[in-house]
Amino acid sequence: PSAPSPTPMPTATPTTPPKPFRVAVVMPSAINDLAFSQSMYDALVAIQNKMGKDKFEFAYSDGMFVVDDAAAAIRDYATKGYDLVIAHGSQYGSSLVEIAPDFPNTSFAWGTTVDTFTDKGINNVFAYEARSEQGGYVLGVIAAKLSKSGVIGVIGPIETGDAKLYVDGFRAGVLATNPDAQVNVNWTGSFSDVALASEAAQTHINAGADTLTGTAQMVVGAIGVAKEKGVLWFGTQSDQASLAPNIVVACQVYDWTVVLDEMINLIKGGTRGGKAFAITLANKGLTIKYNPGYTVPDDVKSLASETIQGIVDGSISVKVE
């Protein structure tokens, strides 16, 4: 993305009165993964564009899949006086719980989880999560409607966390719409194994699937197969339409700005943590983005809108196993 590059750590910033709000984020994968980490990076860029570079600065450490390196980064950013340090990975929690108490004047955020450690007497940690099962459900509904064979393939990394929520939601959406449909799930055991994701997609197609979805950065491999074989694709975390403009139907897009805006306001108001946030369909942190290159029949679109409405007003509750 042609995003403005993040500001390097200022070495000698002239201390002009309205001090910029400074955020640091530590992320497990790359900022251009078309998935989890990119969704956070894009949100920070969007906020910076909105607030202006003089009012909002951010720094990032990506590719921090090694947890103790991430811990060092979190501690270091806190030491450097960032207003908010985001630990964008559920595996960073145990590090955060040790670091946060040492920096009572710094706010931390941990995602994706609901645990703010208040039970441990810590009150400067926010928690945030994505209710990805919600968008998953909606995409499942659309998929069930569009699939002709009634066989739908799902490709996931390991059956945990965000990926599990999404897959469970998706499956529930399919089955609620077409109880006879068959949802085949394939876990690859890795977030990054593009080749295996691609093979998983082939397997689904050979098993009769005409509609696919999947989560984690490895799915670019699966999308390639979907494109070649002309089967439909549903994405999540980021907008993946650019990869296969003809067959991507819709994507659930994460927009963390909703959550980040709220956190920033709270911090400016003196609250440093203790609150858990979620991006949901209701707060527009999760949106279903249709691919303009693919025409979804109007009846399906309206069913999807009804489903979204139902989830927002609570008449549909998405259950995960």
Partner: protein, 311 residues
């Protein structure tokens, strides 16, 4: 459910996928086998594959020319092979560490370049499947064996070619001699360094092609750590194959087929935890080797730097 496992669809699916998945392993394993036969261990295969994958993708993306992309990947692989050879042969550095260094360099550099030159995940249209008149249309066998792209066939053709090189040519004789007793080869005027440079550069080229086979033939994308450790499996398969091309073929096929099979097991809905399904290719590779391993000896000079006049 079990019946589905033994259906024709599954069989065709597993075999086709096995052949397809085996492609990058074959290139990389045979490349590494060449080097090891001459006494060089290269643990940097994965890094070289990544650089090859990136180079092929970038060139193809910018020019639309697949052959050029493949060529550049080959050259980049050869160049890294040259670097490996310079450190292992000329500087006589510990090969295991050099390889890990090359791996880290390739892993980091391919991603850095990816980020600076492409920025985000893009796609290309890679080598298309070749439709062979008549053959491709045979039921069952057609889809299994004759529905692939040129690089897949290239990988399988490499098996007899490399076997021929090693066993039927004067150069192959030199390679085998240098790997087993460099002193003896040296005493007959064979250039130990020359032979090792050759195998390492050609090996690097093949590893570059292995990467390209991912990024412009099988997956048609590039992403950070695209290989996710395939290069290390390729190294393991050299040992599985007992330093022979045919063994490499057996290993690559076995590993890939079982991998394809475990995906099928999951899709069919056999009730085992996915983690255990995913383990299958790794476990089976060991088990099969345990039951079939003969007394194949590694090249005696493997990983030992050669220096004339040392006691």
């Amino acid at each position: 459910m079990i019946a589905q496992l033994f259906s024709l669809t599954t069989l065709i699916g597993v075999l086709t996928a096995g052949i397809r998945l085996a492609t990058p392993y074959l290139y990389a394993t045979i490349g590494e086998t060449l080097g090891q036969r001459s006494g060089l261990v290269n643990l940097g295969v994965d890094g070289i594959m990544l650089m090859g994958a990136y180079a092929a993708f970038f060139v193809t993306f910018k020019t639309g020319n697949l052959v050029l992309g493949l060529l550049v990947a080959t050259m980049v692989g050869g160049l890294l092979g040259l670097v490996m050879a310079f450190f292992s042969v000329t500087l006589r550095a510990e090969q295991g560490i050099t390889g890990i260094g090359v791996y880290l360099f390739g892993l980091g550099m391919s991603n850095l370049l990816f980020r600076k030159t492409l920025g985000t995940v893009e796609t290309v249209s890679g080598f298309p499947p070749i439709h062979i008149p008549f053959l491709s249309d045979i039921p069952v066998l057609g889809p299994i064996f004759f529905s692939h792209n040129i690089l897949v066939y290239g990988a399988f053709a490499l098996v007899p070619v490399s076997w021929f090189l090693l066993n039927k040519t004067t150069l192959g004789l030199k390679i085998r001699a240098v790997g087993d007793n460099p002193k003896a080869a040296d005493s007959l005027g064979v250039s130990v360094a020359g032979v090792r440079y050759f195998t390492e550069i050609v090996g690097g080229m093949l590893e570059g092609i292995a990467g390209a086979s991912l990024s412009i033939a099988l997956l048609n994308v590039f992403q950070e750590n695209l290989t996710s450790g395939m290069g290390f499996i390729a190294v393991a398969l050299v040992y599985f194959g007992g330093w022979r091309s045919v063994g490499a073929l057996a290993g690559a096929i076995l590993f890939s087929m079982v991998n394809a099979l475990q995906l099928w097991l999951q899709v069919i809905g056999i009730r085992i935890p996915p983690d255990f399904a995913i383990m299958m290719p790794y476990v089976l590779t060991i088990v099969v080797l345990a039951f079939t391993a003969q007394r194949v000896r590694a090249p005696a000079a493997l990983s030992k730097p050669f220096e004339r006049g040392e006691g």
